[in-house]
Every structure is written in C-alpha cells, then in structure tokens.
C-alpha cells in the first residue's frame, strides 16, 4: 500500500508538469500577452512612455522576452523543490560586499559616474547575473562602461527586444562621459530584476510559486484563499453524501413507488438548475432588504465578528449571535448553492447500486441465514453500495471546486475560485499558474485518496 501510494505520488509529477504546461502555453500563445491589466488597474490612463516602462519591467522580471519554453522551464525550476538557484536567491556575505566597495572606492571610475549607490547596484547585479565574485564584477563593469560599443552589444544580447530609442539615447549622448552615464543607467535597468538561473548551483529549496503581478507572494495569497474553499467543501461533501445516500436508499427500497419517481424527477431538475440562477435568486430574495432579509449577501463573517464571543449567548443587549453562529449564518446560502446540484448524481448512483446489491446473490444468502431486513440493508447492502460512491468521490471533489468558483464569485467569498477568476481577469500569470497547480494537485490527490479509500472499503482491492 505504501509503495503504491509513493508510486502514485511520483506519477503525479509528470501529470502536474503536463497540467501546468497546458495552462502555461495557452497563456503564452495568447495575443496581448500577460500582465496587461496591471496597467489597467493603475488607472484608466497610463502615458505611453510609462506604460512601456512598466511593461518592460515585467518582461524583465518574468523573463517575458525569452521564448515560451524557456519561461516555462524557469517557472518549473522555481516551483520544483529540487532545482537550481536563481540570481534573486543569491546573497553576498558582508566581507564580499566590503571587498567590492573597496575596489570601487579605490577606482577612479567613481567620481565620474555620479552617486555611489547606483554603481554599487550595477556591480552587485552584474556579479549576481554572471555568478562571479563581486570583485571580479567590478572589472567587468569597468570594461563595459569604458567601451560603449561593447556595452551596447552586451545589452542587445541581454534583451533582444530592447527599443532602438533607448539605444539611441546612449549613442546620441554628446560627450563620452554622458554616453557612459547613459550606458550605465541603461545597463542597470536591464540588469535589475532580471533573474537568471544559475545552473552551477543546484539546491534543495522551498517551492516558490513566485510573485503575483499585484506584488504579493502567490503562496501567501493561496494560503489565505485555499482554507476558505476547503472549508466550503468540507461542509458540503458530507451534506451531499448524507442526502444522496438517504434518498438513494429510500428510493431503492420503494422502487417504482411515488417517492422513487418524484425524487428521480426532482433530482434531475435540481441537477439542471444553474447555480448562477440559484445564486442570483437567493441573493435577490432571501438576502434582500426589500423581500426577505434572512441571510447576509456576501462574505464569510460580519464586520463585527472580531469582537464577538464564540458561542451564541443572551446578554444585556439581548441575543448575541456569536462567532460560530455568525459564520454558519454566512455559510448557509453558499453551501446550499454548492449542495443542491451535487446529490442528484450521487443519489441516482446510490439508488442503482442499492438495487443491484439487493438483487445480488450474497444478499439472498444473507436472507437465507435469517438476517432481518434492516440488517440486510444497513449491514450488508449499505456497505457494498457505498463502493461506487467512493469511486465518484474522485470526480466530485474537483467538480465541487469548480462549483465553488461560481459560488465564491456570487457571494464574494475570498476563496480559491475567486482568486483564480481574478487572476485570469488580471492576466496574472504567476497567480494563475499557482491556482492551476493547486487545482491540479487537489484533483490528483483526490484520485489517490479515492484509491486508498477504496482499498480500505473493499477488501478485494489491494495494491500490493
């Protein structure tokens, strides 16, 4: 069993690479590229030059001027727990920094080129970029800055898409000193933020999902969002299974009776009812002051939730909801939306499975033993009928996550679905890749879980 699980876990890796690759290349080949909406969020208008600067910055930071396959390789390297370090993960010791500063200070280049800080940065970036000692970087920088042509050639090599206009700024500068100055600032802007994988430095590291275009770490954002979605699903799944199993058994026992037919019909109807319509109607009628104001419209907690006691209580001010009840109160509508469509399929499955089992040979044997109907149903049939429901669990968990995309967006619940949709709207590549990865992981993990559960429930299955 353990070896089986380990094998399955290892098999997840190529699948996950496939999953992320599909999504990545879908984005990579799209017109407009990614990140455009950052400009949008920075205000409706961005002057052309600034927009270009921002775009360039992101291109450098995420390596967008590289071929898509290289970009993807970088992303995989960044996510993989075993991989190569990149320049941003490299640090210099204080001694190294000091040594470099000394070299710069001793050099006559310094006074000619303006503020020390900027040169410092340039050399440091160069050292990181080329993965050389900072002191060596000083001489590289000095050579490049003295020979403007060599410097320009290197910049062109560094970023092939650089605008002619920027290069012209260097060549058209009047004095040699100005040329060097322009070259320095150009080099600096090209080096900064550009991350290079250091193939010389393989390491075991924490998986890094990168930084969202909005500046936050993707892992951080996911850490906030995933528990919310998980909470929704952890509540929803047992409810779905409970209702499905109960109605399934009841319908099977009363096969052909009115309950069976009515429940079958109702189930298909519920299954067909679009969640979006349900959400809109629920919000508009059950959470609207003009009609029935029974439930809140949005979010997971009230604003005052912080200062609430945990359990409901009667105090001097009358009834106080308490944190627990408040959360449950907020969860009613979203959970309802997630639930009602889910148990249709399951219930039908349960009904069929119970029917199959009731007619099966072993049930006849059990009956022939003199076991009571109730025991036949709940001891023997029940457990065997659950097996197909476990099989379906692997597909129902991802389906629920899909469902929560809609529900979270309707009820403004800050979960993974909302994050994913926002990411797509913003064309936030790193965030979208992060959500895809998590989504894929959940899908694959639920498959493994399904197999393990199945092995636990059905003694015939073993993975030895």
């Amino acid at each position: 069993m353990l070896t089986y699980i380990i094998r399955r876990l290892l098999l997840m890796i190529p699948t996950l690479i496939g999953v992320t690759a599909v999504v990545f290349f879908v984005m990579a080949f799209a017109p407009g590229g990614f990140g455009g909406n950052v400009l949008n969020e920075q205000g409706a208008q961005t002057e052309g030059d600034e927009a270009r600067r921002i775009r360039e910055y992101f291109e450098r930071r995420y390596g967008l001027d590289q071929p898509a396959i290289v970009q993807y390789g970088r992303w995989v390297n960044q996510v993989s727990p075993v991989g190569f370090l990149n320049t941003s993960q490299l640090t210099f010791t204080d001694e190294q920094m000091q040594a470099m500063s000394d070299v710069i200070a001793a050099d006559d280049l310094l006074p000619k080129l303006g503020t020390p800080r900027a040169l410092d940065d340039l050399v440091l970036n160069m050292a990181k970029y080329k993965d050389i000692e900072p002191t060596d970087a000083v001489s590289v920088v000095r050579e490049l800055l003295v020979d403007v042509d060599a410097g320009l050639a290197w910049i062109k090599q560094l970023s092939p898409n650089i605008l002619e206009r920027d290069l012209n700024r260097v060549t058209k500068a009047e004095t040699k000193l100005n040329q060097q100055r322009e070259l320095r600032s150009l080099l600096q802007s090209q080096l900064a933020g550009r991350q290079r994988i250091l193939f010389s430095r393989p390491a075991i590291k924490w998986p890094d999902l990168g930084q969202s275009l909005r500046g936050r770490k993707v892992t951080q954002m996911l850490a906030q969002a995933v528990p919310v979605t998980v909470l929704l699903n952890v509540i929803t799944i047992p409810i779905i299974y409970c209702i499905a199993i109960l109605t399934g058994i009841y319908a099977a026992r009363h096969r052909g009776k009115w309950f069976d037919i009515a429940s079958g019909f109702t189930m298909i109807a519920l299954w067909s009812f679009p969640v979006i319509l349900a959400g809109v109607l629920l919000i508009s009628y059950l959470a609207n002051k003009q009609y029935l104001w029974w439930f809140p419209t949005a979010g997971l907690h009230s604003l005052e939730a912080d200062s609430m006691r945990f359990l409901p209580a009667f105090t001097g001010n009358g009834f106080e909801r308490g944190y627990l009840l408040d959360t449950i109160w907020h969860l009613v509508l979203p959970v309802f939306c997630l639930t009602y469509g889910g148990f249709a399929v399951l219930s039908k499955l349960m009904r069929g499975s119970v029917l199959d089992n009731i007619r099966s040979d072993y049930v006849r044997t059990v009956r022939a033993k003199g076991v009571s109907e109730h025991d036949v149903l709940f001891r023997h049939v029940f457990r065997n009928s659950l097996l197909p429901l476990i099989t379906v669990a692997a597909s129902i968990i991802p389906a629920l996550f899909v469902g929560s995309v809609i529900v979270e967006n309707i009820f403004s619940i800050p979960g993974m679905g909302k994050l994913g949709v926002e990411a797509a709207f913003m064309k936030d590549r790193e965030l979208l890749m992060g959500t895809t990865l998590i989504g894929g992981l959940i899908g694959l993990a639920s498959e493994i879980m399904r197999d393990v559960l199945y092995a636990m429930a059905d003694p015939r299955v073993s993975y030895e």
């Binding site: 407009g32 455009g36 600067r53 500046g215 002051k289 604003l303």
Partner: protein
Amino acid sequence: MDNRFGLKDWIVCLLLVAILITLWFKMIQDDRQWDKLSKIQTTLDAQGDELTQLANKLASGVHVTTTTQTGKTNLDADGPFARILAPMNEPDYATGDWVIYPFGSTVSKLTPLISSDVYQRVLEDHVMESLANRDPMTLEWQPMLAKRWTISDDGLTIVFKLRDNVTFSDGKPFTSEDVVFSFDWIMNPKVAAPRDRAYYDKVESVTANGPYEVTFKLKETYFKGFDVCAGITILAKHFYGQFTEAQFNESTGLLFGTGPYKLADNPLDWKPGEGKIELVRNDKYWGVAPAIDRIVYREILDDNARLVAFRNGELDRYGPTPEQYVALKEDEQLLKEKQLFEFETITGGYRYIAWNQMQEGKPTIFADKRVRQAMTMLTNRAQMSKNLMVGLATPCSGPFHRLGKQANPDVELWPYAPDKAKALLKEAGFEDRDGDGVIESADGKKFTFKLIYPASSENYKQMAFYLKDAYARAGIAMEPDPLEWSIMIQRIGQRQFDAMTLGWSGTIEGDPNQIFHSDQVADGGDNYIHYINKDLDKLIDEARITMDEDKRMALWHKVHAILHEDQPYTFLWTTKAVLFMDKRVKNVLRVKTGINDVEEWYVPRKLQRWGL
C-alpha cells in the same frame, strides 16, 4: 472482526467533521482576539513611555508645547493650514468622531510606490506629504514640508528650503536626507516602482545641502519641472531604509510618513483581507491637527450592499453609479439625511474618439480633415451625455478642461449637424453609389470601420452601440469591437485600429506634447493616430520651454484652436463626479479639485456617532 463501516460509523464521522470545523473556527477566532489584545498592549506601552518622558521633561523644568491644537502658534494663518483653521471659528466646531469610507475593491498593498491599488493612493494622501502642494481653490503651489523654494531662470535647478519642525509619526525629525533617500529609492532599479521611475527620469540628481536644504537638478527645461520635484513622495530614511529592496517589494503595509493621519495598525504587520483599513490621527503631527479622529475604509465589493450600508448610515460617503444617481437624486428620504455634491474638476479628464489616420503605411479614410469633422458633427454629444451619462457629462471642444487656464474660450463646439456632415462627406467623395445603404468613395471603397473600446466597461459598450446606430443613419457601417484591455493596449501600440474610444485623465496643466506632437508618432509614443501638423508641433515645442505662464497660456490657446479645426480626435465630453455625504459631517466644501480633504471636516459634538 466486527462490522467495519456501517451507518453508525457514518454518523460518527459526520459528527467528528463537525466538531473539527467548530474547533478550527474557535482557534481562528482566538487568534484574532489575541492579535487584538497584543495591539492594545503595544499602544498602551507606547503611551506609557510617552507619559514618562513628559513627566521627566516637566520634572527637569522644560517648557512643553504639545503638538495638538495649541501647537499651531508658529504657523502662519495663510499657509497650508489656513483652510483647516477656518472652521475652528464655527460655533459648533468640535473634534472627535470617525468618518467611514467605502472601498469598492480589496486593497492588497499599502506600501507606496509599489502598490498598484487605486485606493492605496487615497490612504497615502492622508499619511504621507510632499514638499509642496497645490491650494485646492487657487491651484497655486503652497509650501508643505518645504517652507520656500527658488527656481533658476532656465528652470533646471530648484532649491527647496525645508521646515525644521517637521517630524514623522514616530517623532523622528524630517531632514533633507529623507528627500535624497526618497529619490534614490525610487530610482533604485530593484525597487518595483517602474512607474514612478519613469516619471522621475526627468530629474538628474537630488542633493542635500545641509539638513534643511535640497537641490533638484533637471535634465532639460520643462514647464512642469517644478511639479515633478515638489510632488515627490517623502519616504522616511530611518523607516524605509531598514528594508532591503526585496523586503520592500514584498511588503504589504509599509505606509508611513509625516501626514496628519497614520495607520492604526503597525505598518510592519498590516495584512490585507481584514475587510477594513483604519487611519488614526497622528498625535505627533507637526502641523494643525484635523478634527476627525479616525478614518475607516470599509471594503464592500457589491454595489447594492454598499448602497444599503450608506442608507443605514454605516457609511458617510457614497459615489453612486449613474443609474443609481438617477434614482437617488429624487429620493426625498435619502436627501433628508445626506448632502449631494455634483461637481466637475480639471483633473476629471475627457473622453474622445480617436481616428487613426495611417495604417500599415497607407492613409486611412480619416486622413481627410473633412471626414473627421463630419464624424464629429454626426456625433450627438449633447444627447449622449444626457442619455448615456445621465447628465453627468459636458461636451468639450479640446483636450484642455474649460475650468483651467489652458482652454481657449473662443473655441466653439462643433454642432450636431447630420445634414452638414453628409454634405461634407459628399464633398470628400463619399456617397451611396450602389444603393446598398453604405456610402463609398469614388473608387468603391466602402465607408466601414471598427471602433475598438475596452470590453470591461459597460459605459463604453453602450456608447459604441449608440454610435453604431447614429453612424448607420449617415450610411456609415461601424462595427463595435470590444477588446480586452491588454490586447487593446497592444493594438494601439501597433497602431492596428480604425478608430477607438477612451479617455485621458487630466492634470491641472496638461502637456499635449505626449498625444499630439509628431515626435510621438514613432514607436512607443502616444500619438498613435499618426496626426502630424507642423504648426502645432512648433507651438507645443515653444510652450513647453516657456516658463512664463501668461505667454505659455497664449500658446496653449493657439494649440487648442488648431486641434479644434483638425479634429484628430472627436472630443466627447468632460465628466462630472457625483457624491453623497452624510449631513452629520460639516464643512464639506466643493473646491476646484473636487471635494476638500477630510482634514478640513468636523462633526459637531451633538452629532458625533463613533468612538465616544
């Protein structure tokens, strides 16, 4: 050996899940309350320290001036605080109370420079200050952190004398080093502030001459050179300097400055996603303290929920959508409790339709001035602003706002004249020759084009639909082509569009160089319609280096006239803002830039509601 999984186990499992969830909730809430407690604890500690210091000082016989209201003695009454001081003479003036603002989207970052959230700017304005700012009524520059400045004749060197009594909200003094640090930090390529960096590219260097004087050197003469320098966001060196660039880039809440308010939470551990952000009055503020104790920003994403909250008095301010505005402005009950502001500002910007004159090296239909004029005359701007903009728009004739000095008062709007337009089109060679309802040129080229607009906006969509119908009446087949913003930007960058509609935001004195100068036709420039008029170029070039305001304005007026005649754009309208405010808040005034700042507001003692 026994029954492995039956109904009972099932129920037990369910119960277990329920209990686990409950426990989880409990732990989350305990955590939150613990955070709250520790916050209170730190505040108490800080106050204790302060009291001790005060006591020590008193004991040593030093004369103590507190930094609250009584500290205003050293400030001149017509300086930057004149407007705050003015209402203090009102009989019902009182300090205290909170103002609750709504935010329509989540703010995920408060750190200046790197935050791309629109609403972050709102918070920054209360917490951070710049060297000088514009008086909201006269629009003249007035001293803030700098007490005076000198500008060299060529406009290339600006020397600021700084105030010596300014402190940051932690009590540390503000000096010229902070200004230099701010500039260096912005220009540091590792800081994720490409936008500000592009803006300050015009500045060559910033140097400190002693603790209270800084010199800005510009690369070239530019009429807005002073605006660039004076408006720099001041970052405290002792605060921001403690972070590496990477830490700064990944930070979320580093909002810290000299302003009248400060973040209620510790900037170091502010986290997004709480649903509200609070600013409290900076007790160590160097200037005149505002009356309002606290500004609370609540994040309510849903339009409807926001309106409900405002009605219930949970919010003090509400900016309605145009549709809501139509319904609300006649709502008697609402107007009893709320005050309505409808105003237009220079910075409001304008909407336009841009006609691309050159595509793939060939002139388009719109290269003909007569065609562009005809298109403008086919556009019923008055009707559209009344219907689509529900009256919240004023048709405009050029890029300069009519409230500013740049606008030429003699320029008249092109009228809505479909017949005249058709005649002009005929003159330009367009008429319906094959009887299919669409006009074509002599060589059979049909007058059809696509109008691109941002897909996310309902308003642009309606506009495009409206225009489609309007142009159809003149036999012009227009196809609305909504584009995703990034694709639109790309298409504009590549100049691959027939016509497009967007808006430009405004500044107090705009620079048309960026949009209409032929220099900007080349790649990356904003003259993406390939509009070239040499006379206009000359006028713009001249105006840009004219530091004398009157002369410059005369030149801008000529620019306005030329643009009006050429109609490279069909200038549509400038927009009005609408705002509802709770009547409880007094001294809310309209100023040229919109509504005056929270610092000038107060709530009479009787009406105070929060934080009592």
